[in-house]
Symmetry: C2
Subunit: 222 residues, 2 copies
DNA sequence: GTTTGCGTCTCATATAATGGGACACTAATC
DNA sequence: GATTAGTGTCCCATTATATGAGACGCAAAC
């Protein structure tokens, strides 16, 4: 019969298994419960993935993400030289603001966090590396979707994507001026105040410029 | 007919595609050349992987590793709290020695690098995160395979795994004394000398102890 | 002893992957 | 303009492939 049209093939199921294991190690029975796959199928897929190093077993025999994903993830990260170039700028941005900082790029109809450093405060916003967030809310989202220049070069949002969280973002542009990424600072409203842009705006813009020059995207300097 | 026994299923081919893309972005034609798959098949697999975010396209339409691998890789890394715990100890080890430092764990009949920092020298050994190395050569390999205590607590090897490279490794042990990982320092023989253990041994052993206490594996201190 | 849970494996069935080849399109080359 | 060579994408008859209920072996719990 025909070809796979929407989520029925081995590959789709295999990805379901990986998705399930992303949260935590799972025994076969748990894996079956989470994925909804028949026992035999889940077992076959998990062991097949194991052969490729994408899945491994812990000491209790439970399935978990394998070591092969380390190198693949590393390679995927290297595919954005931007993330590497941004490392030092993000570090100093976190130091200056004390809050969590992130670098987002657009990917289809979502945005992806390709670099992040978490605030050192006990109460902090967490955006894990690789997290996919909507392109419809948050200051970084608006930076990535609006092509044109803005007021001070930054955009702020308060409690937009998530209640209690405020953020400020600035665009990273390539040589031709197109927005290719967004740098963000985000934290609990209690600390950032309701005008986070006022407090952190210039820092974020500076970090964006720093990333541009570090990545060799535009002429030198800030 | 029967089930897949050795490398014929969709899954195996899909992994081949990911493997091929690990090195660099590839056009469909190149992908076909590298994997040996028929055009239609390569295209179908690549686009299927794309639907899952494991593969994406660059601006020229070439296939490359996707953003989904970032989060999966991150999750896989989190599965070794050891890697996180080792971060600071490895940083200071690199600072003290000036050479590349790594943390290896055994995985089946190989060893995997689950954390690494490269030397800042121009001439340096590079062991990328996630790299799979043999369990048959190198000081770290011997640390992972020999259960018992050794002379100064470290093991050295000179030009064993790779010509011109010397390394010193020390075991990281759990509460019951079993070796669960190996810390290594490696560099070109010209700098490390032919007795790398003499020079770096104590540093490496100290780093191992530091990792043990940081990870809460043994009692406190060094 | 019996039961309940586990992971693993088999094998007849039919479903889902296959891939040669058609197609549309662009960029050189004639 | 016409031709050739190169892309990526899509179709669809064929059959090789994944499927999954159920059997099995093994522990641990009752």
């Amino acid at each position: 019969m025909g070809n796979t049209i929407g989520g029925v093939g081995v590959l789709d199921k295999a990805v379901d298994v990986l998705d399930a294991l992303e949260a935590r190690p799972l025994s076969l029975a748990e894996l079956v419960a989470v994925t909804g796959l028949p026992r035999a199928t889940a077992h076959r897929l998990a062991t097949a993935l194991e052969r490729h190093g994408l899945v491994r077993r812990d000491s209790d025999g439970r399935f978990m993400l394998g070591t092969r994903l380390l190198s693949l993830g590393q390679a995927a990260a290297d595919a954005w030289p931007l993330a590497t170039a941004a490392a030092s700028a993000l570090a100093s941005l976190r130091e200056k603001t004390g809050e969590s900082v992130q670098l987002f790029v657009r990917d289809g109809e979502e945005r992806v966090c390709i670099a992040a450093l978490q605030s050192l405060h006990g109460l902090r916003t967490i955006v894990p590396l690789g997290a996919r967030l909507p392109l419809s809310a948050g200051s970084a989202a608006r930076v990535l979707t609006s092509a044109d220049q803005t007021a001070g070069g930054w955009i702020e949002s308060v409690g937009e994507r998530e209640a209690g969280v405020a953020s400020v973002s600035a665009p990273v542009r390539d040589a031709s001026g197109r927005v290719i990424a967004a740098v963000s600072v985000s934290g609990p409203i209690e600390r950032t105040s309701r005008q986070p842009g006022k407090r952190y705006g210039s820092y974020v813009v500076h970090a964006a410029k720093e990333i541009e020059s570090e990545a060799g995207l535009r002429g030198v300097d800030a």
